[in-house]
């Protein structure tokens, strides 16, 4: 790279910094004050860019006043949406377990996506360039778009304004106090409700503004929500949750890395050419993983006490009561005789349910007894799926062997990632699992030659004798059923108890000779194996694999299943998986806007059953029947 190229890439990086900073600053503020990890923040950004597009169209593309007015109004509009969301939804769930809040905001992601689809359609929308700023600035023989120069200035200006707001106003003092110590604000007799609403509004405004400002640079599209939330998480974690200067620093670092990865282009390493531009997605999550491992509370953040796990720790586990075991056998019996009467469609749906029941149960083992919440469980599912597919197609192994090896692939990934993960706890641990999942996803997504990139792999068909849907159904029932039985054994075995011991009181566990990290690491690996098996079966049941199989939404699906069912019992995730998979299928058949319906269902369920469906039923059953549920 020539010197002038370096300068231009640096300036590009600076322009990227501004919009990334705006989104991340809002997310960080909201997290700092309300401790809510707002998955919908990327959606706010997306709405911002769409609103800006429409407003500019409305005011006319030529007018500078119209352009800047539209951008500001778009930000304000999103701020208003933020207020509505806070008042109508979040306000009701501040007392709910942290993960339910996360779930609710994910429901929101789905709803907002479909509302945007309904209003703006599926096509990408290209905005105009900023009136009066269509030219470029000559720098050492290269051009920097004028608009980028403005963006470079806007970021630091907003940082300065936020800084003034936080340090020079009473409101800012309250926000900072709440970020450091929640109880203190309560003790000061401050009207918390008002504080939370205003912070949420400001956060949403910043995200909306960040999106709106991008309209001359990128088209508005429906994928922005998830891409942006990924980036924003990285920035918030790297900078330190709750820290605004940290968000700026991190946005700067991440944007520069991205700019330079793109700028460097293809490099030759030992004769092999290697496209650095393909490294952008992986790079940011690698940075996040490194920061989490070395300095979990971020570059400029402070260590924070986090609730370590979801749900009530006091929940006991017990062996199945007699009526319950009988019910389980009855269900099994029905599942065995069912293929005699059921149509293919039902069998295929049931295979999906079995696979996701196993996926959710493995996540439950980690979250419930293990006390480790994963935001990136899809990684091991995806590794199993891709592992099986690649072993079949690239290594030419027989299908049976490829499937048998899929748990090993999942376990191997979990073994490597787990070594780092178990060094952390709480939200930091969850974020690291997310980082690893995104690294895995990005590698798969961008490694066209090996994994088929965004197209995935096709032709992953089962062996001859398994092509019948009925036979495949029985194989899945057998594998998933046996795995669930094993997971149940593990939970009741000394190993499962040891995990719970470490979750309940790491201090006591350590002082009765338990090496908690080692047990957690092993648990992580075991869980990876089960998820890998689920992925392997899934690949063969569909005949193809795509990167969506290990993207963020798949991980969230797992969380939804576990939390909907109830985190503290194994029955929970199984019921959750069944209900969720069935709902998804049912709703998708009824309407184009199935995501919104699903999102609304999730939100409704969170509001109605903060303890999960099984927890809800259990609380209403006599103890004699509920035991072991």
């Amino acid at each position: 790279m020539s010197f002038s190229a370096i300068v231009i890439q640096f300036l590009n990086g600076l322009a990227g910094t501004s919009s990334l900073f705006l989104v991340a600053a809002g997310l960080s503020l909201i997290f700092g004050v309300s401790r809510i990890v707002n998955f919908a923040h990327g959606s706010f950004y997306m709405v911002g860019i769409y609103l800006a597009y429409s407003l500019i169209e409305y005011f006319g593309r030529g007018s500078a006043l119209g352009f800047w007015g539209a951008i500001l109004l778009a930000g304000l509009g999103v701020g208003l949406i933020g207020i509505v969301v806070e008042l109508v939804l979040l306000r009701r769930i501040y007392q709910a377990p942290e993960l339910f809040q996360l779930l609710a905001t994910f429901g929101l992601v789905l709803v907002i996506k479909d509302v945007a689809l309904w209003i703006w359609g599926a096509e990408e929308l290209f905005g105009p360039r900023a009136p009066g700023l269509r030219g470029g600035i000559e720098i050492m023989g290269r051009t920097l778009p004028e608009y980028d120069a403005i963006l470079i200035v806007i970021g630091p200006v907003i940082l300065g304004l936020l800084w003034l707001l936080l340090t020079r106003t009473r409101w800012g003092t309250l926000v900072r106090a709440a970020t450091q110590d929640r109880e203190m604000v309560g003790a000061l007799g401050v009207n918390q409700a008002w504080l939370f609403t205003s912070v949420f509004a400001l956060g949403a405004f910043l995200a909306g503004l960040g999106g709106a400002l991008q309209i001359p640079r990128e088209p508005a599209n429906l994928l922005l929500d998830v891409t942006v939330i990924g980036d924003a998480f990285v920035v918030v974690v790297v900078g330190g949750m709750g820290s605004i200067p940290g968000a700026f620093l991190a946005a700067f670092i991440i944007s520069q890395i991205k700019a330079f990865c793109i700028g460097i282009g293809t490099v030759e390493v030992f004769g092999a050419s290697f496209a650095m531009s393909k490294f952008t997605l992986v790079a940011e999550f690698v940075v996040m993983a490194i920061v989490l491992v070395v300095r979990p509370w971020g570059l400029l953040g402070r260590p924070q006490a986090m609730p370590r796990h979801a749900g009530a720790a006091e929940e006991r586990i017990s062996l199945a009561s007699r009526p319950l075991s009988m019910a389980a056998f009855a269900v099994l019996a029905i599942l065995i005789v069912l293929p005699a009467t059921a149509d293919t469609y039902t069998l295929v749906l049931l295979v999906d349910i079995f696979v996701f029941a196993l996926f959710a149960a493995s996540l439950h083992l980690m979250m419930g007894p293990g006390g480790m919440v994963s935001f990136g469980h899809a990684a091991y599912f995806g590794l199993g799926a891709y592992g099986a597919g690649l072993l079949l197609l690239k290594a030419g192994l027989p299908m049976e062997l490829a499937l048998a090896l899929s748990p090993l692939v999942g376990a191997l990934g979990a073994l490597i990632f787990g070594w780092f993960v178990v060094r952390l706890s709480g939200v930091y641990l969850a974020m690291l699992t997310l980082a690893f999942a995104q690294i895995t996803w990005a590698s798969v997504y961008q490694w066209d030659e090996f994994t088929g990139g965004s197209n995935g792999i096709v032709g992953v068909w089962p062996a001859e004798w398994l092509t019948s849907k009925t036979v495949f159904y029985f194989m899945t029932l057998l594998l998933c059923g046996a795995s669930l039985w094993l997971i149940r054994r593990i939970i009741h075995a000394p190993f499962g108890y040891t995990l719970r011991a470490g979750r309940d009181s790491p201090l006591r566990a350590d002082s009765i000779g338990i090496d908690l990290r080692r047990h957690q690491w092993i648990a992580f690996t075991i869980v990876g194996a089960f998820a890998g098996l689920a992925g392997g079966i899934f690949a063969f049941s569909k005949g193809s694999i795509s990167p969506e199989g290990l993207a963020i939404p798949r991980s969230v699906d797992g969380l939804v299943m576990v939390l909907l069912g109830g985190v503290q019992t194994l029955t929970g995730p199984v019921v959750g998986a069944a209900v969720f998979t069935w709902l998804q299928d049912e709703v998708a058949r009824q309407t184009e806007y199935w995501r919104a319906l699903l999102g609304l269902t999730i939100i409704g369920l969170v509001l109605a059953f903060p303890q999960g469906i099984v927890g809800f039923v259990k609380a209403r059953l006599p103890a004699r029947l509920g035991g072991g549920l």
Binding site: A313, R316, R489, P494, Y497, T498, R503, S511, H519
Partner: protein
């Protein structure tokens, strides 16, 4: 040989010198009380003895072998049981499961993936609970126990590995006065019968003078007195610390 030998132990937190140059020994079958006003450094001392904190300087020997710098779990394996000032138990488990867990760990069976934990070491666990008077509550969840009962569970757990040394940080805190005396009498009886060395802290002087064989007094991180209960009671500096500073009791 002394069960525990502590030499010149010290620990600072930033500028706070929590423990400075403390030395003492505990013999088998002996109950040694470590007393001192709030913030004297007692808990910090305990945390260095069981490995939770790394001493800045000094030596800790268990039966002549250095245990300095080992992790709590390693020190536990060498026969040191610990109870905490703020009780630490497994809230999602029953009383008996808490004790079973310690026994399972003692036999290094925590990696077992198939056995049913509920059936393991039940008899041993019950007899330990019987010892501390908790057998009748063995099936209750630990999360709902009264504080005094939690302290008893902790004692049973601490006894599960057949320890040579018990470290008990305020074993009777949060109990009614009658109950305190009873629990310490029980503890004394158990440890004498098993020849276990005990180091305990206690703010209730009645309990201390009723059961301690020897007392050491800590003030602002420094040992200021050591000896038989009567001698310590009569010690002028101790009286000054306890009366003059308006400290506890």
């Amino acid at each position: 040989m002394s069960v525990l030998k502590v030499q010149d132990l010290a620990k600072s937190f930033g500028g706070v010198r929590a423990v400075q140059g403390v030395s003492f020994t505990v013999e088998a079958g002996e109950l040694l009380a470590l007393i001192g006003p709030n913030g004297a450094g007692k808990t910090t001392c305990f945390n260095m003895l069981n490995g939770q904190l790394r001493p800045d300087q000094g030596e800790v020997e268990l039966g002549g072998e250095s245990i300095r710098g080992l992790a709590p779990r390693e020190i536990w394996r060498k026969g040191v049981g610990r109870t905490f000032q703020i009780t630490a138990t497994f809230a999602s488990m029953t009383v008996i499961e808490n004790v079973q867990m310690a026994l399972v760990s003692h036999d290094r069976r925590t990696l077992g993936l198939f056995a049913r934990t509920a059936g393991l070491y039940r008899k041993e666990a019950l007899s330990l609970l019987d010892l501390v008077g908790m057998a009748d509550q063995s099936e209750r969840p630990c999360g709902v126990l009264a504080y005094g009962d939690l302290k008893r569970v902790e004692l049973a757990v601490a006894l599960a590995n057949g320890p040579r040394l018990l470290l008990m940080d305020e074993p009777t805190a949060g109990m009614a006065p009658q109950e305190r005396i009873a629990l310490m009498a029980l503890t004394a009886e158990i440890v004498r019968a098993r020849n276990i060395a005990v180091l305990f802290t206690e703010h209730d002087m009645d309990v201390v003078f009723a059961h301690a064989d020897r007392i050491i007094v800590l003030n602002r991180g420094e040992l200021i007195a050591e000896g038989a209960p009567e001698a310590v009671r009569a010690n002028a500096r101790v009286q000054q610390v306890y009366l003059g500073s308006g400290g506890h009791h």
